[in-house]
Symmetry: none
Subunit: 226 residues, 4 copies
Amino acid sequence: MVYKTSKETQEKKDLKRKHIIKIAARIFSQNGYHKTTVKDVVEAADISVGTFYFYFKNKEHLFETLYDEGIEEIFSALMQSLQNIECEADFGFSKAIAFFFKVIECNKPLAKIMLIEAVGLNPTFERKRAEATQKLVSYTTEFFYEIKKLGTGNMPDIKIFALAFIGTLYNVVLEWLQTDSKESLLDSVYALTVYNLQALKLEYNIDNINRGITEIINTKLDNLKE
Amino acid sequence: MVYKTSKETQEKKDLKRKHIIKIAARIFSQNGYHKTTVKDVVEAADISVGTFYFYFKNKEHLFETLYDEGIEEIFSALMQSLQNIECEADFGFSKAIAFFFKVIECNKPLAKIMLIEAVGLNPTFERKRAEATQKLVSYTTEFFYEIKKLGTGNMPDIKIFALAFIGTLYNVVLEWLQTDSKESLLDSVYALTVYNLQALKLEYNIDNINRGITEIINTKLDNLKE
Amino acid sequence: MVYKTSKETQEKKDLKRKHIIKIAARIFSQNGYHKTTVKDVVEAADISVGTFYFYFKNKEHLFETLYDEGIEEIFSALMQSLQNIECEADFGFSKAIAFFFKVIECNKPLAKIMLIEAVGLNPTFERKRAEATQKLVSYTTEFFYEIKKLGTGNMPDIKIFALAFIGTLYNVVLEWLQTDSKESLLDSVYALTVYNLQALKLEYNIDNINRGITEIINTKLDNLKE
Amino acid sequence: MVYKTSKETQEKKDLKRKHIIKIAARIFSQNGYHKTTVKDVVEAADISVGTFYFYFKNKEHLFETLYDEGIEEIFSALMQSLQNIECEADFGFSKAIAFFFKVIECNKPLAKIMLIEAVGLNPTFERKRAEATQKLVSYTTEFFYEIKKLGTGNMPDIKIFALAFIGTLYNVVLEWLQTDSKESLLDSVYALTVYNLQALKLEYNIDNINRGITEIINTKLDNLKE
DNA sequence: CATGAATGAGCGTTCATTCAT
DNA sequence: AATGAATGAACGCTCATTCAT
C-alpha cells in the first residue's frame, strides 16, 4: 500500500490542506473561534466533514495550525525586520516597524485570529501566546542590550523596555484591527518610531525615518502568503 | 404598593446579587467565558439555577455586568491617577502608573476578565472595548496635549503617542496576567515610567520617580471593591 | 380565629377572585393558554404570585374556572334562547340564533378561550368539551324530537341532525373568532336561520325571521357579565 | 459534486424521514403538541436527538410538516369528492360526504392533529387554519353558486351557507374524534346528507343517497398514505 | 481518500409552584 | 391575607466527532 502515497498524491493532499487552512482563516477571523462551526468551514471549503477530519484531528487542531503558521509568519517578519537595524538606529527602526506593519496589513485575517480570537481561548493558547511573547521579548532584549552597551541612555530594566516597546506596536495594531479602520497601519509608523527612539534615547533624524518607511512601502512582500 | 418590598429585603437582594457577581468573577477569570457554565457559577455561589435567572437575565448579561463594573473600576482608577500629574511630571507619572498597577493587582480576576476573556468574545464586547480604548486615548491625548504645549519634545501625532503609552502599560499587565506571575506588577513601574518619560522627552529625576512609587505602595486603596 | 372570615372579608375575597378571573380571561384569550404565564396574569392583575396561589390551586385550575364559567354562561344563554321557540318556528329560530350570537359577541374573550384555546389542551378539557357537546346535543335533540312529532319532515337521525345544527352555528362563530372580523356575528343570523329551517323542512316566513333578529338586537343583555 | 449523494442514500433518507413523520403523527395525536417532547418522538422512532434535528429544523417544523401533509391529504380528498357531484345532487352529495369521512377515518391521527391539536396552538397555525377554511369555503361557495343558478331554493348568503355546510361535517367529525367512538363515521353520512340536501332545498331520493354511500364503502382508498 | 448520516452529552433557559416572612 | 425570593425538574436544541459505506 506504500505506493498509494505517491509524490503526486502527497502534493494533492498538501494542496487541499492548504486550501482548507486558507478558507478557515477567513471564516475564523470573520466569526471568531466559538461562533465558527466545523460545518461552516467545510461548507466554505466545499468539502465534507469526513474529509475535514481526515486532514485535521479536530477543530482546535485546525485553529492551532492556523495560529502556529501565523506566529511563524509574523515572527520571521519581525526577526527579519529587526535585522535591518544595524548602525543607523533611526533608519533601521522605522524600516523595522514599517515592515512589521506591512506584514500585518497583508495578513489581516491571520493577525485578527492571533491577536484577538486566540486571546483568552484556553490554556493551550495562553501558553502559546506567553511563549511567543517570551520569544519576542528575548529577541528584542538582546537587541536592546546591544544598544545599551554603546548607548548613553538610561535603560534600567531591559525586559520591561522590551515589553513596553512591543506594547506600543501591539496596541496600535489592536486598535487598527478592532476598528476595521480604512486607514493604513503605515500611517502611524512615523510617530511610533519617534516615540520608541525617544524612549530609548536614541539620536534620530527625521529624514532617515521617512527614508526607512518609504523604502518599505516600495518593497514588494515576496515572502508572504498569497 | 411601594411598601410591598421592604428595605431589608432589598438590601438582602443587593447582597446576594453582589455575592453572585463576586463568585462569578472568580469562576470566569479561572475558566474563561465559554468554559464557564451557568451550573458552575450557581454551584460555586451555592444557589439554584432559578435564583441565578432571578438576578440576571442570562449568562451574557452577568458577564456584561462584570465587565461594566470592571471598566468602571479601572477607569476611575486611571482617571484619578492621571490627575496626580501636575507640575512634576516625573513624580506624577510614576504615581499614576503605580496607582494603576496597584488597582489592577487588587482586582486581578476582574482585570483578567476585561483584558483577556472579553477579547474576541463577540461584537458587543468588541464595541465595549473599542469605546473604552477610545475614552482612554481621548483622556491621555488631552493630557499629552498639555505636555506638548509647554514641552520642547517632538510629538508628531498625539493620538499615536497616547496609543503607544497605553500599549506599554497594557502589554506589561497582559504579560503579568498571563504568566500568573508571583512578582508584583509594581516592580515594573520604575522602568516603565522611565521608558515613557523618555519617549515624551520629559526631564526626570530618579528620586522623584521612586518617591512616587513609594507613596502609592504605602497608600491604602479605599475606593476599591472588597 | 373564626371571626377573621367575617362577611366583609369574604366579600372582599370574592371581589378579588372575580378580578383575577376577569383579567385572566383577557390575557388567556390574547396569548393562549401555553403562552400565558402565571407571572403575566399576576402582573396584569397587580397582585403577587403568592396571592394568586391563595385564590387558585394552580394555573390549570384558574383556566378551568374560566372555562366552567364560560360554559355556564353560554349554556344558560342557549337554553334560554331555545325556549323562545314555541309555536312559531321561524320567529323562534331566528331569535334563538341571534340571541346566542349576541351572547358570544359580548363575551368574545371567553368564547375564544372555550372554543379555541381549550381545544386540544388536555384530556380534562377534552372531556369537558365532550360533556358540553353532549349536553347541548341532548337538549337540541329533545327539542328536535318535538319538531319531528308534529312535523312532516324527514329526520332520519335526530342526534346527527342536532350535531349538524350545532355545527352550523359553531363554524360560523369559529370563523368569526379566528378572523378577528369587524363585522357583527348577527349579520349572518338570517342566512343561518334559513339554512337550518330548510334543513328541518320547517315552513318559514322571511318577515318572521327578520322580526326575531330585530327583537334580539333591540334587547339589552342584562344577564351577562359586565 | 452531484454524485456525492447516491440515489440509494437519498432513498434511505426519505424513508427515515417518512418513518419519523409517521411515528410523530401517532405521538402528537396521542399526547397533543405541548405534552409531546422531542425525546418522546425520538424514543418512539428509535433514533437519536441529533438525527431528529438532522431531518427537521425543530419541533414546530415537524408539526408543521405533519399539518401541511394532513391539509394536503384532506383537501385533495374533499376536492376530489366534491367533483363527484354533477347532475345527480343526491347521489353526488352522499358520495362526497362518505368519501370525505372515509378519508378522515383512514387518517385518524392526522385528522386529530389538524382539527384538534393545531387549534389555538399559535398564530402560525391559526393562519394556516384560516387559509384552509377560506379555501374550503371558496370551493364550496363556487359549487353552491352553480346549484343556486339552476335551483329553486332560497340561498340568501352563499358564504354563510358554505360555512354552515362545512360546519355540519366538521362538528360530526369533531364529536367522533373526541369521543374515540368505535362506531364508523360512515354511519352518520346518510342523516348528514339529508340534512344538507334539505338545507339546500335539493330534491333527493333515499335510494340514490344509499347508493352513493355503498359505492364509497366498497371503494378502496388507493390515493392515501399507508 | 471521500462522504455525510448518525450520535448524545451537555448546554442555556423557563416557569409553575412553594414557603418563610 | 399577602408577598416575592427561591427552587429545580424538564425542556428544546447544538455541534464536535465518529464510522459504515
